[in-house]
């Protein structure tokens, strides 16, 4: 049995600590000792996994509290600061700045309505309503998600998390007039991958998105219920 794996630390001895480790409150040294045992003990490993799931679920019970007015505005400012001196790639820096800019615009609207009406929850501006998603379906089963983000340019995103195939795939969108646009190619590893690229077409014209093989075989399709 697993007790023989490490004579210094037995299953009985680690029982006391598994809950503390799952809850993230064990001391570093003891945690390391116990995890060395758990690594080679299927029984304790399974128990720790179950306790960790419970710990994660308990965290979801944290009470929700409305942050102070201006929270998003101050977050936008911090995003700007954090984007400055850091050695980030050009696209990442651009994305942080873009997020900050949108947050400022939206928060401006939100704070304006807050001041105007005294409501705690400002109405969500239209700018946040331009994400449209649809499940990527294969034979009736969901394998991922396709998202169209309207803008100038609009963007297409795909997130695949349970495909049964791997390798290079092509993303195409079918437009309202029936025209098919190839958006780009990306790799799936172990049935998993995430990818995005700008669209030439307007988001509102996209009716469906699909993944196809190099040979043109359609692997999965996402149909948008309403014009994106």
């Amino acid at each position: 049995m697993s007790e023989h794996i490490d004579e210094a630390v037995t299953c009985d001895a680690v029982q006391e600590d598994l809950a503390a480790i799952a809850l993230g409150i064990a001391s570093g040294r003891r945690r390391a000792e116990v995890l060395r045992h758990v690594e080679h003990c299927p029984r304790c490993s399974a128990e720790l996994e179950q306790l960790s799931i419970i710990s994660d679920t308990l965290l979801q019970l944290a009470p929700e509290v409305e942050p102070p007015i201006g929270f998003e505005l101050r977050l936008a400012a911090r995003l700007r600061e954090s984007a400055g001196p850091r050695e980030v790639s050009h696209w990442r820096r651009a994305s942080v700045w873009a997020l900050a800019a949108v947050l400022i615009v939206v928060v401006g609207l939100g704070v304006g309505s807050l001041i105007g009406t005294g409501h705690r929850n400002p109405p969500t501006p239209a700018v946040s309503s331009t994400l449209t998603s649809a499940a990527l379906i294969v034979h009736g089963s969901r394998v991922g998600e396709a998202i169209v983000s309207a803008g100038n340019p609009s963007w297409m995103y795909m997130s695949i998390d349970r495909a049964t195939w791997s390798g290079a795939v092509t993303c195409q969108v079918v437009l309202a007039d029936g025209h098919v646009e190839t958006v780009g190619r990306f790799e799936l590893t172990g049935g998993y991958g995430a990818w995005g690229a700008p669209l030439w077409a307007a988001a509102r014209d996209v009716r469906s998105a699909r993944l196809v093989t190099a040979g043109g075989v359609v692997l999965a399709t996402a149909r948008f219920a309403t014009p994106a």
Partner: protein
């Protein structure tokens, strides 16, 4: 938030954030700001510090969105764990004394009557955990929630509850064991 935004999964939002979609970032902030701020406030017990913690948590989430692996757990657990750890660090840095919530908070948190304030947490697992927690004796419930939500160690719980360290450890261990039994048994049915 529109129904379209609500329908986008957390995983997909993070993927979009990693690819530079500012609108996905906005949706994510609006979806999670009350939860992250609420958790931080419960730990640091100061609105200003809690805001710092929640904002730092968002910065880290955005910074690491590209490396998040959905196979290793839910986005919500990841985001809340980052927030909890930052709040505990903040409390330690200012040498703050953790203040335990009174019993009312624990009864409220575990009330099966309680309606979640956002649809994002209205999951079956959460309802089941709340129900299982409500079955625990109050002292075990307090110990488990103080550890899980507020990051209190057994030593801190022993001090704040004025109980021996061994008793604090037992309450945490027994409480978690009962939750595990209740939830695993329910899954097996």
């Amino acid at each position: 938030m529109t129904s379209d935004d609500d329908s986008v999964s957390d995983d997909a939002l993070l993927s979009s954030i990693a690819l530079g979609d500012e609108q996905a970032g906005l949706v994510f902030v609006r979806r999670y700001q009350r939860r992250l701020f609420g958790l931080a406030l419960g730990i640091v017990n100061d609105a200003g510090d809690a805001e710092d913690v929640a904002q730092e948590a968002f910065l880290r989430i955005f910074r690491h969105a590209a490396v998040f692996d959905p196979r290793r757990g839910a986005v919500s657990s990841w985001a809340l764990t980052i927030t909890r750890n930052l709040a505990i660090d903040a409390l330690r840095l200012r040498r703050g004394v953790p203040t335990n919530p009174d019993d009312r908070v624990f009864l409220e948190l575990t009330s099966t009557e309680r309606q979640p304030e956002s649809a994002a947490i209205a999951s079956h697992d959460v309802a089941r955990a709340r129900s299982a927690l409500a079955q625990l004796p109050l002292d075990q419930r307090r110990a488990v929630l103080l550890a899980a939500l507020y990051g209190r160690t057994a030593v801190q719980i022993a001090e704040s509850e004025s109980i021996p360290l061994g008793t604090a450890k037992s309450r945490i261990r027994l409480g978690m064991a009962k939750l595990r039994t209740a939830i695993v048994n329910e899954e097996a049915l």
